[in-house]
C-alpha cells in the first residue's frame, strides 16, 4: 500500500465548513483520514509539509471541449485532419489537469470519437488528464447548426432516436443537443429555438433508456423550458431564462444542473478584438444584452438554490485552454457567489455532476484522492486558482500528477 501524509495544511474540505488546520492521509487512491491523523497509521507514509498551504479537492469544469483547440477558425475544427486533431485534444486534456482540474464533463466533441478516445486513454493511464465524461458531436436539426462541419444532424423524433443510438454506440457518456443559435455565427440567433418538444423528448427518452444523460446548448427562454419539460439533465448557458423558466428551474433543482459558460460571454464581448471581433461588433449582435440578461437570471437562479457549475466553453482563441478558473472569479464578481460558494460549485457539485457525489469533490475520508495543494487562500482571493505556479501539487487517484517538490517531502516515522 502506498500512503501520503499532507501535514499541517489548511483543509478546505468542500462541506461548506471554513478551512481548518490539520493533516490529511491518503492511502492508495483514497483519502483515509482528515484532520487529526493517527501517527501509527501514517507510519512510513511519504510526507508533504503543507506549511499552512490550502489542500482542497481538484476542480471540475462542467462544460469541457477537449477538441476545441484555441482556434478562431471554428469551421476549421471540422476540416482539420483527425490525426492532428487528436494530438491537440490530448494537449487539452493535459492542460486541464495541469491547471488543477481533475473532473471534466464533455460538452461536445468536434469529431465522432475524439472525446471517447481521450477518455479511454486517460482511464488507461496512457495520457495525463482529468476524470472525463465523454461526449460526441452535438446534435442539431437541419438549419439549426452552429458549426455545420462538426455537427451531427437529425430531424424529427425518429431521427433523434437514431442519432442518440449511434452516439451511444460510439461510447459516449452523454448526449449534446444544440437547441438554439449563437450570435457570433451571424445567422443563428441566441434567442431562436430550433428543436421541437417532440425532438427533445425523443432524444432524452432514448438516452435515459440507455442510462445516458443529455445536455444542451440552450440560450433562449423557450429552450430552457423545453429542457425542463422533457427532463433534460444539464442545461448550458440558459442566458435568456424568463420568469416561468426560473420557476421551473427552482422546481427541478434537485435533478437539473446549469452550467452557464459565463466566461464565453465576457470574453466574446470584451476581449475578442485581437481575433477580429471588436466590442462594438459584439455589442451590435447582442452579446452585451445577453451578458447582462444572463447575469440577472443566474443571480436569481443562485438565490433560488439551482445548482450552477463553472465550466466556460474554453478552447476558443479568446477563451484559451488553461484559463478555466477565471469562471470562478466571474461567479464571485458577476453572479454574487461567495468565494466558498464558488469553490463548492467547482468541487462538491462537480462530484455530483460527475455522478460520484460520494467519491469526488470533497476532502473527506473514503473519497478518491483528487487533491490540489494551493499556495494561498482561495477563500480570500479566488483568483489564486488561475495561477498554475501557485498550485504546488496536483494529485489524482492518490498519485501525483504534479509533484510538490523535493524540499517538501520526507518519510513519516
Amino acid at each position: 500500500m502506498s500512503s501520503t501524509l499532507f501535514r499541517n495544511v489548511s483543509i478546505l474540505d468542500s462541506t461548506g465548513a471554513d478551512p481548518y488546520p490539520g493533516d490529511v492521509l491518503v492511502e492508495d487512491d483514497r483519502i483515509a483520514a482528515v484532520g487529526t491523523v493517527d501517527p501509527a497509521r501514517a507510519e512510513g507514509a511519504r510526507v508533504v509539509e503543507g506549511r499552512g498551504r490550502t489542500l482542497m479537492s481538484g476542480l471540475c469544469d462542467a462544460h469541457t471541449h477537449f477538441s476545441w483547440i484555441n482556434s478562431a477558425d471554428l469551421d476549421g475544427l471540422g476540416t482539420m485532419p483527425v490525426e492532428e486533431h487528436l494530438l491537440a485534444s490530448v494537449e487539452s486534456a493535459k492542460t486541464y489537469i495541469d491547471s488543477g482540474y481533475t473532473m471534466c464533463l464533455g460538452a461536445a466533441s468536434a469529431k465522432d470519437r475524439l472525446d471517447v478516445v481521450c477518455r479511454d486513454a486517460i482511464n488507461a493511464g496512457r495520457i495525463p488528464g482529468p476524470r472525463y465524461l465523454a461526449n460526441g458531436p452535438e446534435i442539431a436539426v437541419t438549419g439549426g447548426a452552429l458549426i455545420k462541419s462538426i455537427t451531427k444532424f437529425a430531424d424529427g423524433p425518429e431521427g433523434m432516436r437514431k442519432a442518440v443510438r449511434e452516439l451511444i454506440d460510439l461510447g459516449v457518456d452523454q448526449i449534446k443537443l444544440s437547441m438554439t443559435g449563437e450570435e457570433i455565427t451571424g445567422t443563428q440567433r441566441a434567442e431562436d429555438t430550433y428543436f421541437s418538444d417532440e425532438e427533445v423528448a425523443a432524444a432524452v427518452t432514448e438516452a435515459h433508456r440507455r442510462g445516458k444523460r443529455v445536455c444542451a446548448h440552450a440560450r433562449s427562454a423557450e429552450s430552457v423550458k423545453m429542457c425542463l419539460r422533457n427532463g433534460l439533465d444539464i442545461i448550458y448557458h440558459a442566458s435568456f431564462t424568463d420568469d416561468e423558466g426560473l420557476d421551473m428551474l427552482e422546481e427541478a433543482k434537485d435533478w437539473v444542473f446549469v452550467a452557464p459558460g459565463i466566461n464565453w460571454l465576457v470574453a466574446t464581448l470584451y476581449e475578442a478584438e485581437s481575433f477580429g471581433f471588436p466590442q462594438e461588433a459584439a455589442e451590435a449582435v447582442g452579446y452585451k444584452k445577453e451578458l447582462e440578461t444572463a447575469i440577472k437570471g443566474l443571480r436569481e437562479m443562485h438565490r433560488r438554490g439551482v445548482r450552477i457549475l463553472p465550466g466556460g466553453d474554453y478552447g476558443f482563441a479568446w477563451t484559451p485552454h488553461g484559463t478555466y478558473a477565471r469562471d470562478l472569479e466571474h461567479f464571485v464578481e458577476l453572479l454574487g457567489f461567495t468565494p466558498m460558494e464558488a469553490i463548492l460549485s467547482a468541487t462538491a457539485l462537480g462530484g455530483e455532476i460527475m455522478l460520484r457525489p460520494d467519491e469526488l469533490g470533497k476532502v473527506q475520508p473514503g473519497y478518491l484522492a483528487d487533491l490540489i495543494l494551493v499556495d494561498g487562500d482561495p477563500i480570500a482571493d479566488i483568483t489564486v486558482l488561475q495561477d498554475r505556479d501557485r498550485i504546488n501539487a496536483i494529485m489524482k487517484d492518490g498519485r501525483f500528477h504534479k509533484e510538490p517538490g523535493d524540499d517538501t517531502t520526507a518519510t513519516a516515522v
Binding site: N70, T95, S99, V266, A267, Y270, E271, A272, E273, S274, F275, Q279, E292, T293, I295, K296, A317, W318, T319, P320, H321, G322, T323, E333, L334, T383, V384, Q386, D387, R388, D389
Partner: protein
C-alpha cells in the same frame, strides 16, 4: 493590486512560448506589485500581453509589450490600483501604453 502576466506568450511559437512571462515577471519582481501568472490573456496575435485587474475593478489588457515596457507596466498597475473603478479615464494610463490597450473588460452588473 494585481498584475496579470501571460505565461504562454508567444503562444503560437512552441520554441519560444513562455519566454515573455518569465522575463517580464523578473523585471517587475522588485516593484512590490502582486503578480499573477496566468495561462493566457487572449491577446495572442500581438504577443507580450499583461493586464491590470482587481476585485470589482475593470480589467485593462495591454498587448505587444516587451521587457522594455516593465517600468510603464508597474506604473499602470499602481495607478489602476489607486483608482476607484479601474476603468481608463479613472486613472492615468502611462503614455507608453496608451496605444497598447487591446481590451477593457467591465464587471458591470445589470441595472
Amino acid at each position: 493590486m494585481t498584475l496579470l502576466i501571460c505565461r504562454t506568450c508567444p503562444r503560437y511559437d512552441m520554441r519560444a512560448t513562455g519566454t515573455f512571462g518569465a522575463v517580464m515577471s523578473a523585471a517587475v519582481a522588485a516593484s512590490g506589485v502582486a503578480v499573477r501568472g496566468v495561462q493566457c490573456l487572449g491577446g495572442c496575435p500581438e504577443h507580450g500581453v499583461v493586464a491590470v485587474d482587481g476585485p470589482g475593478k475593470t480589467r485593462v489588457r495591454f498587448t505587444g509589450l516587451d521587457v522594455g515596457d516593465a517600468d510603464a507596466v508597474v506604473r499602470a498597475a499602481r495607478a489602476h490600483d489607486a483608482s476607484a473603478s479601474g476603468s481608463p479615464g479613472d486613472w492615468v494610463v502611462p503614455v507608453e501604453l496608451m496605444e497598447r490597450i487591446s481590451a477593457v473588460t467591465y464587471k458591470r452588473l445589470p441595472l
